[in-house]
């Protein structure tokens, strides 16, 4: 099922023409209305008219989160403030948060792209969508809400947390689609099992999960426990919220809605554009946004772009699952490590629950990693000797994966904190 066949299955040549036209328009509008961008374009003596091909965008400077912080709150708006009808902010752990501003038209675009995403998960107007993303300033809840609204499905706005409610409603109302973070989905399966609920009897057929990084293994785990197809949604507040890209049932990458968001991949070290298929940092440019256009925004997410034909029929470029962030990246004893690599290694081993935490310390001038992993109930009640074997196995597997010795500690099931939103996987205790 495809929401917008015209846009999603457009011939590539035609789409490139559309993208170019939109790119020219947005650069002109941005130059004329956002003093911040005008200044930066003038600095490199760039005029919007100089864009003759899509690649010409490489001439332009990048926008980073720091720029957004400096422009807080209204500095990057391209329309008079009264045209902005909604704002969302992203958590400001360091300093001021950042704002995303939407005009009425932007809200419609948002609804459109999320509608595409939900449809890709199999949602139609006859479905019941149980929304477990947080509602409020976080874009997850309202974003999915707008998309579901657009499709005409029944939306149950539960928001994050309230596990008992989630389980009750799933059973009482026969929800067919679940939207929430993957770690929360996993938590719900645990809670359901504990409550003695027969998950097979639930009517859930698909899950639209995102807002945090998760592996294929994690996906397999969720699908196995929840008996549904678990697909990945991608987005970020600075660009629009959820709805920038969505995985289709081919499970082979996420289709970026590139008629609205122009993607590039650059090397996080040199910032040079990378060819198709090579992993690097995702950079996005909004092509249609009114309220707050973003030009070459560095997402900090690591991925690769692929243009091979997808069996689903969509011609939109695909991006790999996000396997890490440039700032997720840990440097341990000089070696670059992504939590993703550790998760992948862990989940290959039997008897291990997909609940783990990575603790990085520097006790004697040398970095140490400890990976705490929950064992399954069965394994935990096993002989100490057997536990020790498993522990060593995990240590070896991880060492093979990242090239570093780590200490693995097995912990009792259910002792690691569970999240209702994004799971906090890494605790870095080094005072860097």
């Amino acid at each position: 099922m495809i929401w917008n066949k015209e846009a999603e299955c457009m011939r590539i040549g035609e789409r490139e023409k559309l993208q170019l036209a939109r790119m020219k328009a947005i650069l002109k509008r941005t130059y004329e209305n956002v003093p911040y961008y005008k200044k930066r374009f003038d600095e490199i003596k760039f005029k919007p008219g100089e864009i003759k091909s899509l690649e010409d965008i490489r001439k332009l400077p990048f926008t980073t989160k720091t720029d957004l912080r400096e422009g807080y709150p209204f500095g990057l708006f391209a329309v008079p403030r009264r045209e902005i009808v909604e704002v969302h902010t992203s958590s400001g752990t360091t300093g001021k948060p950042t704002v995303s501003g939407y005009t009425k038209k932007d809200i419609e675009i948002w609804g459109e792209v999320v509608a595409r995403a939900l449809t890709m998960c199999g949602a139609t107007k006859d479905d019941i969508i149980q929304n477990g993303y947080g509602y409020g300033l976080f874009t997850g809840g309202l974003g999915v809400h707008y998309g579901a609204q657009r499709i005409g499905a029944t939306v149950i706005p539960i928001s994050a947390g309230q596990t008992k409610r989630h389980l009750d409603i799933m059973q009482d109302f026969g929800s067919t689609i679940l939207t929430c973070t993957p770690s929360y989905a996993l938590y719900l399966t645990e809670a359901a099992e504990e409550a003695g609920i027969n998950i097979k009897k639930l009517k859930l057929k698909a899950g639209c999960f995102g807002a945090e990084m998760w592996t294929d293994r994690m996906r397999d785990e969720i699908e196995k426990r929840f008996h549904l197809i678990a697909l990945n949604i991608y987005g970020l507040t600075e660009i629009i919220g959820p709805g920038v890209a969505q995985e289709c049932d081919q499970k082979n990458g996420l289709h970026i809605f590139e008629d609205h968001f122009y993607p590039e991949v650059v090397s996080p070290e040199t910032l040079e554009p990378l060819p198709e298929g090579e992993k690097g940092e995702l950079v996005l440019t909004t092509l249609t946004r009114e309220g707050m256009p973003m030009i070459r925004f560095r997402t900090r997410d690591i991925t690769a772009l692929r243009r091979e034909i997808c069996k689903c029929g969509r011609t939109l470029v695909r991006m790999d699952r996000i396997t890490g962030r440039t700032d997720d990246m840990l440097k341990i004893r000089g070696v670059l490590v992504f939590p993703y690599q550790i998760e992948k290694a862990l989940l290959e081993i039997k008897g291990v629950e997909p609940h783990y935490q990575i603790i990085v310390t520097r006790p004697h001038h040398l970095d140490e990693i400890e990976v705490q992993v929950e064992t399954s109930k069965k394994l935990f009640s096993d002989e100490v000797r057997h536990l020790e074997e498993v522990r060593k196995k995990i240590e070896n597997r991880i060492e093979n994966s990242i090239g570093l010795r780590v200490k693995v500690t097995l912990v009792e099931p259910k002792t690691l904190p569970r999240s209702e939103g994004k799971a906090k996987r890494v605790i870095d205790k080094r005072q860097l």
Binding site: R82, D126, L142, Q149, T154, D172
Partner: protein, 430 residues
Amino acid sequence: MFWQKDIETISRKALEALQLKRLKQTVRQAWTNVPFYRDYFSKLSIKPKDITSLKAMQKLPLTTREDLRLNYPFGMLAVTKEQVVRLHTSSGTTGKPKAIFFSKKDVDRAADLIARCLIMTGVKKDDVLQNMMTYGLFTGALVMHYGAEKVGVLVIPAGPGNTKRQIALMQDFKTTTLHLTPSYALYLASVMHNEGLDPKKDFFLRRAYLGSEPYSEETRNKIEKFFGIDVYNSYGLSEMNGPGVAFECMEKDGMHLWEDNFIMEIIDPETGDKLPEGEKGELVLTTLCREAMPILRYRTRDIAMIIPGKCKCGRTHRRISRIIGRSDDMIIIRGVNIFPQQIERVLMGIKAVAQNYQIVLEAYDQMTVRVEISKDLFDGRVEHLVNLQNEITEKLRSEILVKPKVELLEPGTLPVSEGKSTRVIDKRTL
């Protein structure tokens, strides 16, 4: 300023004719599509065609929250599931909540009613609304959000809590309009006061809508004075869309109830007899435009009166007074409806506690549940008691959605009680 001037100032005669027309449609729709109503009608031997005048409404049965509970989840639905676009829920006395269904038209109408309320209180397109009610299954935040969207103001979907951030948002975005509970407004005022902030000087606030909890005229004056704004009373209930059922206009002399969308009656809560204008009683509401879930003569359990006479603003929809109390034992804290029965049920499921408990409400939003422990199950271990305390707190929180303080008491401390008056001690001065 009017959002829908014609209907807001329609003549009484035309309004009543419109009400009758819509009532007939609603009754027919309920009778045709909702088995619960059909059964009820046949039990009372009435048919839709018997409703020939507004007076004939008296023949119709009263619907209670018990009926909604017994028909959970889909029993009150009047359209197909596919036509439902939104589900909201509201606390029920037992484990299950009440389900409220909306069709696309229902959502649109609810938004229109809110838009009337916003425009009525001077809101313009360039206003900034900070929506500090809880987003999610409660109707409070989302329905206001839909209405504000219609008007085109800037909505900050802040939700409640994180007061420091709320204050920062108000300053950064130059918020003009607040939507929050009275208890949170008082709390916000105290935090601002402690920080040395003067909203009259440092902020851009013009008005606030207070709802979800009953509060006094004194509290309104206090808030108006501290913030330097106009405070307008807002009334609604999830079963009737949520906020936007009745709202104060700039005269601040009673809340206009949108009579083209609801028929209101005041009844004696004991006898069920209809009471005249000016007399206090229980508010009963009938939906006139709802598609997905029409409700006839719903007992709100809120005590109020219809204010006789015309309002200076020119609107012909009559006004109701502030909500004076409840005719049941429901309590509201932090804007959340809680029934003592819910607490009782949770406690009954925990072995180590006896049957006797008390709920104490104080300050703006403090709830303490005092529970007597079971004599026989006391084993002398402090740790076990602490665990018990935590277990009770967590189970209650999961059920009532508000985290209470739990006090463990010796058996025999509390008076043996029958009713709400001894079970619930409300020390708040809202």
